[in-house]
């Protein structure tokens, strides 16, 4: 426990030092405020923007899109992963495709998605799902691979039906790996949706950043960027803590 705390202290100290360094550089003029504004100004800008309520609509729109993409990616990714796992032939075909999937920049399909689905939420959701679902598929496959065959035998020994075997044995046994996929899916859905808004959308936080950038409003741009970063880190942090709590039982302390 002391070791864990020490690591945490050092981590926070490193981050704080970097922020302070940036603050000093900005305040002393080493870094031009047209390039980066001081972290304290970022925070002030973020507080102003959130307080003024002018971002409310963008926040609601972006996070509902991300949530939808995340949930769809988990549902579809898990389902597809489970189907591929059942068929060794399908597995042979899809393994290399999945492995190389993330070398394809899915964003380049955004214009196509707009042409097919129009502007607004649908192409953004699709983009979020496209970037998040394969991570879920990959982790579902590795999770199902990790379920030891003796546990399946044990389930048969207890005369469990398929649903119960799945719910009581397969799912909890695969959960640690599934969780890795969920965490990645959250990050990828967020990146996909915000990047999509950035490129070609009229709403959302990604658009707000892009709009501020194009109108040379550095203060607003960094304020929104900080907000997006904080939300992303917090959401991932929650999953991380939850995962840690599940994992701690499974490993000898």
């Amino acid at each position: 426990m002391t070791r864990r705390r020490a690591v945490l202290c050092v981590r926070v100290a490193v981050l704080a030092a970097l922020v302070i360094l940036l603050e000093l550089c900005c305040r002393t003029g080493i870094i031009d405020p047209l390039t980066v504004i001081a972290p304290s100004d970022m925070v002030a800008s973020m507080v102003d923007l959130i307080g003024s309520g002018e971002l409310n609509e963008s926040i609601a729109s972006t996070f509902s899109t991300i949530a939808l993409a995340f949930v769809l990616a988990i549902g579809l990714g898990t389902l597809a992963g489970a189907l591929i796992h059942r068929s060794p032939r399908l597995r042979d075909v899809s393994d290399p495709l999945l492995a190389s999937y993330y070398s394809v920049p899915t964003f380049i399909f955004y214009p196509l998605l707009v042409a097919l689905l129009g502007l607004g939420k649908p192409p953004l959701v699709v983009l979020g799902v496209l970037s998040a679902a394969p991570a879920v598929m990959i982790s579902t496959l590795s999770g199902l691979d990790s379920v030891s065959s003796v546990l399946i035998k044990m389930a048969r020994g207890h005369r469990l039906n398929r649903a119960r075997t799945l719910w009581w044995i397969v799912l909890p046994a695969a959960l640690p790996r599934l969780f890795t996929g969920f965490k990645l899916a959250l990050s990828y859905a967020l990146i996909g949706v915000i990047a999509g808004e950035f490129i070609l959308s009229g709403t959302g936080l990604g658009y707000a950043i892009s709009f501020a950038y194009q109108s040379f409003d550095n203060r607003a741009m960094y304020g929104v960027m900080l907000f997006v970063m904080l939300v992303a880190v917090t959401a991932n942090g929650i999953l991380y803590v939850w995962e840690g709590r599940l994992a701690r039982r499974r490993s000898a302390r």
Binding site: S148, V150, L151, K153, M154, R156, G157, H158, R159, L160, R164, W168, I169, P172, A173, L175, L246, R249, R250, S251, A252, R253
Partner: protein, 268 residues
Amino acid sequence: MSAPAVSEPSHVALNEVIRHYEGPPAIHALGPINLVIRGGEFFSIVGPSGCGKSTLLDVLSGLVRPTGGSVQFEGKELHGEVPDGIGVVFQEDSSMPWLSVRQNVGFGLRTSGLAKAEITERVDHAVSFMGLNQFADHYPAQLSGGMRQRVCIARTLVLRPRLILLDEPFGALDQQTRLLMGDELLRLWRETGATVLLITHALDEAAMLSDRVGVMSARPGRFIDMVETGWPRERDSRIVSDPQFGALTARLWSSLREESLKTMGRAA
């Protein structure tokens, strides 16, 4: 309801049982095997590695259908499903790491429809019977290999099986722990009155624990010797100092030596 198990002269009967595995390459893993295990008997099977011992257990428990022949448990033929009354303990650790010891032990009772009080009582009894009281709220990762195997045995025990099948359950444990686990197994066998079938590669374990030992040949596995040990029902690991124990182990080895050489040759 069938008659109580212990009084039945033939608890399990295998009749001309054969098991093939479809290839490629096709493998004739087992048989033909004819075997009758008496109710309440402690029966062990020894054989060279890869001789089909585990296959035999899978067939016996109903996990796997034999390719030919039939298996009867308490007078009823098995049909690819593990019947009520048979408990299996596997060679590999089959404890569930996401459940506490108590939850692991009670796992098989989730579908039993028993009252909560009855479940708690059975779990408590099995936990203390296997000496796991102190660890009831621990998770498997916090336990040693021997402790985890006890959890698996306790999980079988709560179901009150009339036939307990054990597939090299102590294979991964050190010698001292194995001797002690052997004592516990004997105690369990005496107190539950269940029929026990133990698969093992350790000749001394078979000689010490069993009423009768079946020696299997190299693949395809068949019985080549049947040894009655003649031990009293009240016995424990101290019989290893009995001269009879040495004689039994020697007899088992002389039956098995040729067969083991065959498998060595095959592996080389």
